[in-house]
Symmetry: C2
Subunit: 154 residues, 2 copies
């Protein structure tokens, strides 16, 4: 390792969204997106996604004080505004997702087809959760996350 | 698949942070965390992490209008406040990360050891980026993201 090289980072483990009403948010993330909580209390609901990522819903304002746990301290954080988060899906799952969202009255606000060297272009669809966060479902190839692909996001 | 089951979600692809000063943020994410941009313009810098995740830095206020691209439309989003995001590291990379952050004057604000069935407990350290976002580096085992482990987050 070069003298100045950073140690490796293996991926994003936790992505946090801040919600005003945890029950309303859970109804969406569980009833529409089909997630199953691995942890839930009044402050936090945590969902595993794809065996490698944790999506965390924090009740807005509930983490503005440091949390003191038996093993240490979590410093405060919070968030406002409609932030963005994208979830990976397989290309052949897109029609089923479009159907499911339509059946549940979730409007598709945007749809983008990304330039791609793949035979099938990457496609993203965009919709809102109950707090207005902008969620994206993206099929493979949007980012050059494996060696063979170029960046293509305009 | 049961009639009501959702199609699979394969992971979190994009995690977004909103920054006031892109150059200052890039100096931190590149100079301290060692990330290399795969895309950058005046609105967005995108970093690959671990070959599976994209960390996106949006200039605050730059995505409050829909973006119209050749392939479609990205609806607006934005964020305020110090949000939270955790990155995975290997257990044996933790001392090197602690040393690197100390050398670069980045204060560790919190440290937590998680209950674990593993021989070596999962450890998280917490620090801030220049916008006050709460970053965490976590060693394996914090969440039950592989089948053998229980949820342990208090």
């Amino acid at each position: 390792m070069a003298r100045d090289a950073a140690p490796p980072l293996d991926g994003v483990l936790e992505t946090a969204l801040y919600v005003d009403d945890m029950e309303r948010a859970r109804a969406f993330y569980e009833g529409v997106l089909g997630l199953e909580a691995m942890f839930a209390d009044s402050r936090l609901t945590a969902y595993p996604i794809g065996g490698r990522s944790a999506l965390l819903l924090f009740r807005r304002g509930a983490a503005t004080e440091a949390a003191h746990l038996p093993g240490g301290t979590i410093p405060p954080h919070d968030g406002a505004g409609p932030i963005h988060c994208a979830l990976s899906i397989a290309a052949d799952a897109l029609p089923a997702w479009e159907r499911r969202l339509a059946e549940r009255g979730v409007a598709i606000e945007g749809r983008t087809e990304w330039p791609s060297r793949r035979p099938v272009a990457s496609v993203s669809i965009y919709f809102r959760d109950p707090d207005g966060h902008l969620l994206e479902l993206a099929t493979p190839g949007l980012w050059p996350l494996d060696a063979a692909e170029p960046a293509n996001r305009g």
